[in-house]
Amino acid sequence: MATLAQSQSPVRRVTRVLGRIGPAYYALFFLVMIAAASQDRFLTGPTLTNLVRNSAVLGIVTIGQIATMLVAGIDLSIGPVISLTTVIAAVSMESNPEAAPGIVALCLLVGLLIGAINGFGVGVLRLNPLIFTLATGTAIQGLTLHLLYSPGGLVTRDFRELSRGALGPFDCSFCPGGVVGPIPYAAIYLLVLYLVGTWVLKRTSFGLAVYAVGGNEQSARLSGLRTERVKLSVYVISSVFAVLGGLFLASRIGSGDPLVGDPYTLDSITAGVLGGTSLFGGVGDLWGGLAAVFTLGVLSTMLNFNNVSPFYQFIIKGVILIGALAVGYLRTRGRNQ
């Protein structure tokens, strides 16, 4: 064993470690380098704060999407659930501003219910997740438009602070400038949610069950795991995170919009795939997804700085998505040979 380790040159060990790092981290690293080199404004407080706030919704909902992808599923109802949340939150807060905490609880309850329906269809009835969540997503979209046909409603001032606020700045004698921060709440939400999510996935028996079900459902069931219950929980998690993302979005835009969640369904799949999570289940983690979310965020910041038409973002996003898959394919092929 020792001779084997010694016989490998340091260069080889470094390349082996580098080879294990997912494509999203490289993409993020190089994009940040290019952005920092080409734009003085990029590595400044206001830009980074904006970047975090703009990426927060996708960052939050991607956690849920990755969870469904880990059990070889997919959740196409995320976008409609986000829209529904903004509508419920904004419309009810406009009429009952003092009941804001209860309204937030109501939204989470709605998320639980939708997740339970998705989880029942996919986990218990074993229906195709793509079609079933498409069906529930369509129905939720209809319900959302029924509640509010065009953007409207108003969230309370305190509720707006949840996305716009920041902690600090703090004194910091070693830092350049003597202070650190202000740190936007959005950064704290993301950090806490990703830490807790990773802990659940990697350190609890539920998390191990998720990977087991995604890796091989048959053997997971035969070894005594209640696969139905695991899948059901995963879809509940996905819908609840979609509600959390919707609450953040409602706070950020200040009103309800029945179509505002639309892009997040596909963007969360893009982020999951780019972050190295397999659509076939069992492989992936949250941090890669977060790196992918910020990759997309930095990309759009850069294009804005350089006055590139935002329309090019669609093309670049598509190329990145297919490119990430191609990289994944080439890597596994290299390993198999």
Partner: protein, 324 residues
């Protein structure tokens, strides 16, 4: 002997196999009867033909989607082929028929290239069709926005408007296109070697490759068919709306999947029917028209569509499991 056969009769009844494609047509007839019971004026020929016209673009999209679903794949990019074809046609035609031929060829080429790229990436890189066609969706969307700079201009020509809104005798032109393409789709699927190979590849790719089928080529052609039918649907819809708009394709990818699934096509691959897809498209259009007719708003229609899709996929899965 007689007693035994009587005893077996119910069991034999259970074994009568109704193909999934027939179920949707039975549903269409039931829906028509319900509509008739609610109001006789729903059965006016002009109204029913109008419903058929509304179904035609969806029906044409669903033909290609069915081909792709039979391979076990999925095509999410067809919606953006519709949008891109629409803005390109409106921009290039500028309301006149002078350049109609070349423009139609360009639009068909857009569909062909999109399908070719989809199919090639899926077969060569062995990556999930969902993600590849999602990426293609994004790329085509970007091209449509960059091409029009976000503000589509131009108008559709009179000849295309005739295809979208005109009549040949009493029958809407779009419906004639739909029927013709459905017949072609059925004939290719049921009567050609390619059709046999398509079912074989979807059912068991490895077995068909080992028995000498060029499986990659079969799959790529299915995506090209989907791209081409999307381009044709885009031209017909362009004729219907008359101008260029960046939202023409919105939601049509999922609608085409819904029509195919309601028509009895399985997402698992290996089975599927173009006649069923036509029934699925007609059923959805009839249902929406009926709900509008009795005064239910569009939002309820969306909820109903979701519900029907869920029920359809549930029934489909249940019949497959009981058949095993």
């Amino acid at each position: 002997m007689t007693a035994k056969s009587v005893e077996n009769a119910p069991r034999r009844l259970q074994h009568i196999h109704i193909p999934p494609a027939a179920i949707v047509w039975i549903a269409v007839i039931l829906l028509l009867l319900v509509a008739r019971a609610v109001s006789a004026s729903f059965w006016e020929v002009s109204h029913l033909l109008n419903v058929a016209r509304q179904a035609s673009a969806l029906g044409i999209l669903a033909i290609g989607q069915t081909y792709v679903l039979i391979t076990g794949g999925i095509d999410l990019s067809n919606a953006m082929v519709v949008t891109l074809v629409n803005v390109v046609a409106a921009t290039l035609l500028r309301g006149s028929d002078e350049q109609l031929g070349p423009v139609v060829l360009i639009c068909l080429a857009i569909g062909l290239v999109a399908g070719l790229v989809n199919g090639t990436l899926i077969t060569r890189l062995k990556v999930p069709p969902l993600v590849v066609t999602l990426g293609m969706f994004s790329i085509l969307q970007g091209i449509a926005y960059v091409y029009t700079n976000g503000a589509p201009r131009g108008d559709i020509s009179p000849a295309l408007e005739f295809v979208g809104t005109g009549f040949v005798g009493p029958i809407p032109t779009a419906v004639i296109f739909w029927i013709a393409l459905t017949i072609i789709g059925v004939v290719i699927l049921q009567r050609t070697i390619y059709g046999r190979q398509l079912y074989a590849v979807g059912g068991n790719e490895k077995a068909s490759r080992l028995s000498g089928v060029h499986t990659n080529r079969v799959v790529v052609i299915a995506y090209i068919v989907s791209g081409l039918t999307a381009a044709i649907a885009g031209l017909i819809l362009s004729g219907y709306v008359g101008t260029g708009t960046l939202t023409l394709g919105d939601g049509r990818n999922l609608d085409s999947i819904a029509a195919a699934v309601v028509g009895g096509t399985s997402l698992a691959g290996g089975s599927g029917s173009v006649v069923g897809a036509a029934g699925g498209a007609l059923f959805l259009a009839l249902l929406f028209s009926f709900l509008r007719f009795i005064g239910w708003p569009y939002t309820i229609q969306l909820m109903m569509q979701g519900l029907i899709l869920a029920v359809a996929v549930y029934l489909h899965v249940r019949s497959q499991r009981s058949g095993q």
